[in-house]
Symmetry: C2
Subunit: 557 residues, 2 copies
């Protein structure tokens, strides 16, 4: 039964791809490992390529001036998104027609008013399938949620209710056109579910696109979207960004509005999932954050803080970039003392370190409080209800859990009680304080008069996970426990001629051994390798400025 429902749903979405955009016989992953660049360009017109290979910040200028019509832009991205889906399984919902109609309206209004609708006028924006958008389902990958509102029937909300940020994006002039794939439960670093299957990495289809915002990563990685929104409770924005070679920011909780979105384990409030943008440039991330903050989300989401965009927080960094003021200082680490990273990830961190040195900034070896302790505290929050919430969602249809998820939530158990939860909350606050004190203490090691400005760190032990190979999430989860701001930037690609497997690796645990064992230069060759830049809590302006500074410098090396 669930199989039929799942394929009916998948078919109905595929049917929304116009015939002229279909790939007659898509190559297998083995036949065409890398589908970016010239491969995907063969299906597109020169104009479509020009449009889709621009970033959101550039597009916004073109559409606001009327130089590019919103319709042309929207059509181009719809086309490329359709190609991405056929090659990567990255979409849950398609509403190209609505999008083109909306774009048409924007063009008309611009023509008559001469004023763009907002800072995202005519910019296509893709959304992870947790956002409710009128006219389409929100399945979050659950077969049992098809045709319902978050699994409930008869609420009157399905296909009508919209998430707060959807309203704000429309108000900013954005064109919404598709919703992207997630792993059912959202609690995986790979994206897989029983409706669309497995989401592949566009740069290397031996590998995962990451998760849980894996559809976003894949889609933006193939330039089928210039800007999308994902969510992150343990790395779910940063992992797909890193794997797919795009930029992504995990803001601190309370910066951007989560109001009215579907979620797993809603009401767990020790570590809140946060929403944030992924895009093909830092400038586009900034545009997105600024556009949302301009809507004063704190008046519409009770969990959002009244923090408008703070230009002066960027200034220190912008001044440093121009050499106008003193240096910046960075902490750096490549090993969290739990799981060792693969050679290409170590090389990526090294490239960033050398870039920082070349720019004349300072580096401090990061020796923080135990990341293992942080990891254990964070992981515990995922099991407060012992899986009761997600198990209920699976039971609606009887569908099985993917192995990536059943290893977490396959067995039923007793939920934790208030005493256990309170205890974990106290441990969390204590380690946050300890980490904060450590961060402050680096003031004595820098010559800047300040503690380090940001940490350079791996996003994961691997450039990207191999299928069923997401062994360890500690490199991203620590940021969620600490509620820090983190921006992912692409650095390099795996080069099998340089990035040899380690000869005599000495694992400290089975997990460490299993993780290192997944590295194979032939499999990984060409994959994106990224790092994350971690800042203190609510430092979105500063961290975007630092990310721009470093990615500009990396582009020049």
């Amino acid at each position: 039964m669930w199989k039929q429902a799942a394929s009916r749903k998948a078919d109905s979405v595929n049917a929304l791809i116009p015939h002229e955009w279909r790939i007659p016989s898509p190559p297998s992953n083995q036949e065409q490992v890398d589908i970016t660049g010239s491969y995907v360009q063969q299906f597109l017109s020169a104009q479509e390529i020009e449009i889709t290979e621009a970033d959101a910040a550039f597009i916004a200028k073109k559409t606001a001036s009327g130089e590019w019509t919103a319709v042309d832009v929207t059509k181009a991205f719809c086309h490329r998104a359709a190609l991405a889906h056929q090659l990567l399984n990255c979409l849950h919902e398609i509403f190209f027609e609505d999008a083109i109609a909306h774009a048409q309206k924007l063009d008309e209004e611009l023509a008559s008013s001469k004023r763009p609708a907002g800072p995202l006028h005519g910019v296509p924006v893709s959304l992870k399938d947790q956002f409710h958008v009128r006219g389409v389902d929100t399945t979050m990958g659950y077969v049992g949620w098809i045709g319902t509102f978050q699994g409930e029937v008869g609420t009157g909300k399905d296909k009508v209710f919209e998430s707060e940020m959807v309203r704000e994006l429309r108000a900013a002039g954005a064109v919404l056109y598709c919703k992207t794939a997630v792993p059912h439960t959202l609690m995986s670093g790979e994206t897989i579910n029983n409706i669309i299957g497995y989401v592949w990495n566009p740069k290397n289809r031996n590998l995962s696109a990451g998760g849980s915002s894996g559809g976003e990563g894949a889609l933006i990685g193939l330039k089928g979207s210039p800007l999308g929104f994902g969510t992150d409770i343990g790395g779910s924005i940063r992992i797909p960004s890193a794997f797919c070679g795009v930029f992504g920011i995990r803001p601190s909780a309370g910066r951007l509005p989560y109001e009215g979105m579907a979620n797993s384990m809603d009401g767990q409030n020790s570590i809140l999932s946060v929403v944030g943008p992924l895009a093909s440039s830092v400038q586009s991330l900034r545009l997105a954050v600024q556009a949302i903050l301009a809507q004063q989300p704190w008046l519409h989401d009770p969990l959002v803080l009244e923090l408008p965009w703070r230009s002066k927080e960027e200034q220190l960094i912008l001044d440093a970039a121009k050499g106008a003021t003193g240096r910046l200082a960075f902490g750096v680490f490549t090993y969290d003392e739990v799981v060792a990273i693969h050679p290409p990830v170590a090389r990526a961190v090294d490239i960033v370190v050398k870039t920082v040195e070349k720019l004349g900034h300072e580096l401090v070896q990061w020796k923080p409080p135990s990341h293992d302790r942080i990891f254990q505290i964070g992981l515990k929050t995922w099991f407060y209800d012992s899986g009761a919430d997600v198990q209920k969602a699976f039971e609606l249809s009887g569908e099985p859990q993917a192995s990536q998820v059943s290893s977490l939530y396959g067995a039923k158990g007793r939920p934790m009680d208030a005493v256990q939860i309170a205890e974990n909350n106290v441990l969390k606050r204590e380690i946050q304080k300890e980490y904060m004190d450590y961060w402050n203490s680096t003031q004595d090691q820098t010559g800047t008069g300040r503690p380090v400005d940001a940490i350079i760190a791996p996003c994961a032990p691997f450039a990207a996970a191999r299928p069923n190979g997401y062994t360890y999430v500690g490199y991203t989860l620590f940021v969620n426990v600490l509620d820090y701001t983190s921006v992912v930037i692409p650095v390099t690609q795996v080069d099998k001629s340089i990035d040899k497997a380690l000869d005599n690796f000495q694992p400290i645990s089975e997990l460490d051994k299993a993780t290192q064992a997944t590295y194979d230069p032939d499999i990984y060759d060409g994959a994106h390798v990224s790092v994350q830049l971690v800042g203190r809590r609510l430092q979105e302006e500063k961290m975007l400025a630092i990310a721009e500074l470093l990615s500009d410098a990396l582009a020049k090396t």
Copy 2:
């Protein structure tokens, strides 16, 4: 056993009051109902009266300029605090000698450097007995905590560890000299425990000083402190402020640092207890908040938000006060549809309403989402652990719970589980959103172009509770559930010739009946009556400005 430990502790604190400050035979409550004004002044010198009847903002100017020495100021408040304790039982810890030594040092440093130590240079500050201050106990009213660190023996922290805000207050130049009484558990609107007994209201010793920051209310109400800090999870700053005729602010969570304070049910994070000042003027509250924010508490407490003092948030209000810009708009309600208020409280709200009208501002009848629903959600958070945490504290000594507390935590039960807690968290967020939408909707009812700027509301059904008469906390708890900013301002006093009991009151419930039945004009005569001014989340600057505007206007009526 516990009785001996309790009286030994009480005696040891009383022994710290110098002989010359002792009241030979203090009158009974009946003999001397009101101990403020001329009654307490008889024990003080003219200089001591001048100093102690100044507010913290004024004192700070005098001590910063050296016109008043910190030693004179400190001694005067120590003396008046000692009197307050003998008449009201408001102190848990006395460290006058340390304070005077600190003041001496401040005087010397000022003399040599010509620069005050900080914005609170030489200002005596009293602290609720949740703050850890070196050299003295933190008992929080538990006999079992005497001589321990939060009930634990052998941590090495007792009498050594200090709370983050203690460090910040010292850095701002404040002189700490005493810690004030709380009800054991902190979960009561009256202050009582087995060490110091019952804390009485200085203006009317038939009545409670309120709770849980009841020692602060009593002490500041008698001008034994110009500025103190309490905490509030359901009204615990606002209730004693209101009852004792002082000003108090309940900031939103994350504005001021709670790091390193003792607490009940630590780790319950659906509704966080917040810390905030009580003082004899709005200007003093502002000075206190500004002084703490100037210490950048967000770098030392992981739960504090990076929100420096925002002067422009005050500007709208200051401009309106000067008549420079448009009007303000206020919502007003006197009945939450659960429990009716006593006649004097209704009259106090009416006085404020008339003042607002006289100033030319607008009024909107406040018809919000169900306060009963909000109350139920809030109350539930107090019972997540079914009392396990506070019961453990009582068991350390075997002492009994006061009836004000045993009605809540007397019986043992099972803690709630993660599923129940998550459900309550979702309900809380939903009502926060609903309330926010309602608040936004008042834009259509005001002529200001904005939703209402603040709500004028009762703080409690009564001017102050009679002993064992704190029947209902809904008028304050709704603010904690919504995480709003609220400032209490004194308005008037009960006048038995005006404030008659209601003739034909029709209660809607037993609770409503019991609450109204506690009103007796003869008992209440002379008591302070206050209101709270409730603003949206994190509106501390704006709400203090509004409180100043209205209290200035009230003073002129």
